[in-house]
């Protein structure tokens, strides 16, 4: 158990656009796999590793995130000591504009923790990941920072942080979002650093007036510091656009895949909602290869789809290869294929929406179609 480490989640990723899906919310708060949000995976990974003090940095659109996280009780983080810290943007009291730096809030959070190490994670990937191997390697190698990478060469996913390593597995080159990168090693957003060094770097940032704090900004210091990279061999979905989100959602329908995400030993925790059990009615059609959630009522036919809580599928409706967020209503006779429908939307009677593989149609929150 990593009791000597604290966590820091950068819940904002300003580089990412998921069309309508993350327009009303931070990427960290985007729903995933029927009852979770993307940040649940990182929060749960941290607590499953024994981390009991987690700061969440949120800059924009964080209401949805705050509602989801609440007091932190669902992750058992509602503690007298330690627990969950939401680190808000700093606003200048006079001009009421955001302060030049986000760093002060992070500095305050890191400084007041007793732990020696800080795990910094972005919230743009989905995985059930152990942190201990990274910390062990970090300490054994004497590196200044350590980061996981995925060997993405055989994946369809785009490489965004291509790293090259020296013989000691230290980063010697780094290319961001560059299609011509030679390396297929893709660092993703999980890094460990000592509290002392992190505080030093944050103070430097403030002094230099650098506004943005990110994993990439830390990795870009590879010339100045020894950054150890360790291969992560488990299942990992990076979420960087609608297609990657949709693909990850569909792959979770495979029990061989989902069992790698949802281990009994290391559960993924989320906000509890007390919805009734899902009901599949006597008159329903085929319901096959479906991940469905509490509060759903299925009267029609559903295949190869993910249903979040409270969805209704009307009689004779046919939903295939789709992702329906919470409380979506699919009326009688509707046909959907390759569609992502955001929260509370209603697809009216007889509607027909057909997207394509790799290019799902996205229906925004609260829409009536």
């Amino acid at each position: 158990m990593l009791t000597d480490a604290m966590g820091l989640i950068l819940a904002d990723n300003r580089r990412i656009q998921l069309d309508a899906i993350n327009q009303p919310r931070a990427l960290a708060a985007v729903p995933f796999a029927g009852r979770f949000r993307i940040i649940d995976f990182t929060l749960s990974n941290m607590i499953n590793c024994g981390i009991k003090r987690i700061g969440v940095v949120a800059l924009t659109r964080y209401k949805s995130l705050m509602d989801h996280i609440g007091t932190g009780a669902w992750w058992d983080l509602d503690r007298i000591r330690q627990g969950l810290y939401l680190i808000p943007p700093y606003i200048n009291p006079i001009t009421r504009a955001p302060d030049r730096t986000d760093a002060q809030g992070i500095i305050d959070y890191v400084e007041s923790g007793r732990q020696s190490y800080v795990f910094i994670s972005s919230s743009d990937y989905v995985s059930n990941i152990r942190y201990k191997p990274l910390l062990d390697q970090h300490i054994a190698s004497g590196a200044d920072m350590s980061v996981y990478y995925a060997p993405d060469g055989d994946s369809a996913q785009t490489i965004s942080l291509a790293i090259e390593l020296d013989e000691e597995s230290m980063i010697r080159d780094l290319m961001v979002d560059y299609p011509g990168a030679r390396s297929q090693l893709n660092a993703f957003g999980l890094l460990v650093i000592s509290k002392t060094l992190l505080l030093q770097l944050l103070s430097e940032m403030m002094a230099r007036g650098i506004a943005e704090f990110s994993i990439v900004a830390l990795l870009q210091l590879y010339k100045r510091f020894r950054i150890r990279a360790l291969e992560y061999q488990g299942l990992l979905f990076r979420i960087y656009d609608t297609a990657s989100y949709f693909e990850a959602s569909m792959r979770v329908l495979d029990p061989q895949v989902s069992c790698q995400l949802f281990s009994t030993e290391r559960p993924i925790y989320t906000k509890v909602k007390n919805r009734a059990p899902c009901v599949i009615s006597p008159e329903s059609g085929k319901v096959r290869n479906v991940l469905a959630s509490d509060g759903c009522a299925i009267m029609g036919e559903v295949e190869n789809s993910v249903l979040f809580r409270g969805c209704t599928i009307g009689r004779n409706a046919r939903v295939t290869n789709s992702v329906l967020f919470q409380d979506v209503q699919i009326s009688e006779g509707v046909t959907l294929d390759h569609v992502i429908v955001d929260k509370n939307s209603v697809i009216k009677m007889g509607g027909k929406l057909l997207g394509q593989e790799g290019y799902p149609i996205v229906i925004g929150k609260n829409s009536i179609v």
Binding site: A33, G34, R35, F36, A73, L253, P255, S258, L261, F262, P267, I268, Y269, T270, V272, N274, R275, A276, P277, C278, V279, I280, S281, P282, S284, V287, R288, N289, V290, L291, A292, S293, D294, G295, A297, V306, L307
Partner: protein, 426 residues
């Protein structure tokens, strides 16, 4: 300690022996219900939704599972700084020690607990009823009637009234007579076992009842009749919704089936009166590529690859491909193997039904050893934490439990992963 206007006391101490092996190691209120609930979720959620934040749970029989299920009360928002949930077991005092002798004695022994909150009203609730009720309205009616005791009643078919405690009232709803299971009922107002008392009155009645050596210290049998006899102001409060005592195998099975067949009666989907429960932290349930599912309720962590009809599927249940299930309750964590056939079967928590097991009312060649008077109408109960070996054939009206392991070691075994006896693994 802060004053609380209303304190609720839930009687959760009974063994529930008519549920047989389902309550071998857990108290009845901790028995699973309706895919994702335990029976006690109903009174606890009713308290929460009614705004009652101080709840004593009187336990005596096998309280560990119930204790760990309720935990700090967080799932029902009952982890309050003042008040909240308290498990109240019997205890030793300077005067010696006693177990709870009856329902009234259990409250009597906890007078100091209730006094600590200086309440005006005390609600006495049962831990084994399925219903949704706004206790606030009942208290309001109690106040309006200037009653000293108010008893919730429900209309039952007159033909069945002789199975209940029947309240005979005057025109204003004041109780003039109480008859426990009358042979010739005068009306059909049955007591639901839900009482509201003015605390000062109840307190003195309990002290008096305790002194009476002939009393069995029971609310229905002693306290209420005593109050009526004396002319104290005992009123009824009429309740019109769904209500079911799930004290028998048949009633437990029926009440579960009501969720599927009469979904509007105990409407679990009503967001204005949610039933809260301790949620397992599991992924959404998964319906496999060749599954057939009709008229089922299912929840988190379940995986269905076989055929399931008219059944309740609990969390973390796995139904393997080729299994065939009808009219059954699969309690949380149970696994049904390939080719198994279950009809009218209640499978206890964390029980494994191995492939090709058959449990059916019509099984002609089944073993008669398992027949139980508690099981009727073809319903069979398999205890929690068992393994039913491949090839076992079990007829209807059976009750299969750990006691049979010795005599049928080739058919039955204890599930070694089912640690801590009744303890949930999730």
């Amino acid at each position: 300690m802060a004053k609380q206007e209303i304190v609720a006391m839930i009687l959760a101490g009974g063994q529930g022996s008519r549920l047989g092996v389902l309550t071998d190691f857990i108290a009845k209120p901790a028995v699973p219900f309706g895919s994702r609930y335990r029976i006690i979720d109903f009174p606890l959620s009713n308290c929460m939704n009614s705004g009652i934040e101080t709840v004593g749970v009187l336990t005596q029989y096998q309280p560990l599972e119930l204790n760990s299920y309720i935990g700090n009360g967080h799932s029902w928002d009952l982890d309050r700084n003042n008040g909240g949930t308290f498990i109240l077991p019997p205890f030793l005092s300077q005067e010696g020690n006693e177990w709870y002798k009856g329902t009234a004695n259990a409250i009597y022994q906890n007078i100091p607990f209730i006094d600590g909150y200086r309440p005006k009203y005390v609600l006495i609730l049962s831990g084994d009823h399925i219903y949704k009720m706004d206790y606030g309205r009942m208290v309001a009616s109690h106040v309006k009637n200037k009653a000293e005791a108010t008893i919730a009643v429900i209309e039952v078919p007159l033909s069945e009234a002789s199975r209940f405690g029947i309240m005979n009232t005057d025109a204003e709803g004041r109780v003039v007579e109480f008859e426990e299971k009358p042979a010739e009922p005068k009306n059909n107002l049955a007591s639901m076992g839900v009482y509201c008392f003015s605390w000062e009155v109840l307190r003195s009645v309990l002290i008096e009842d305790e002194k009476d050596p002939s009393s069995k210290n029971d609310f229905g049998g002693d306290v209420i009749p005593r109050m009526i006899e004396r002319g104290q102001r005992v009123y009824t409060y009429s309740f019109a919704g769904y209500w079911k005592d799930v004290g028998t195998v048949t009633s437990l099975w029926e009440s579960n089936m009501d969720l599927l067949n009469k979904p509007d009666e105990i409407n679990l989907r009503d967001l204005s009166w949610p039933i809260y429960s301790k949620n397992p932290q599991r992924p959404s349930h998964y319906i496999g590529p060749r599954a057939v599912t009709r008229n089922i309720a299912v929840t988190d962590g379940a995986e269905i690859y076989g055929e399931v009809y008219n059944s309740i599927v609990g969390y973390n249940v796995t139904v393997e491909e080729g299994a065939w299930i009808r009219d059954s309750l699969l309690m949380p964590g149970s696994t049904i193997g390939k080719g198994a056939v279950l009809n009218r079967c209640i499978v206890g928590m964390n029980t494994i039904i191995e492939p090709d097991v058959r449990v059916e009312p019509e099984t002609p060649d089944g073993l008669v050893d398992f027949q139980s008077p508690h099981c009727q109408e073809g319903i069979t109960v398999i205890a929690p934490g068992m393994i039913i070996r491949s090839g076992a054939v079990i007829p209807g009206n059976s009750m299969v439990g750990p006691a049979h392991i010795g005599s049928h070691p080739h058919l039955l075994a204890a599930n070694p992963d089912h640690l801590g006896r009744g303890m949930e693994v999730c």
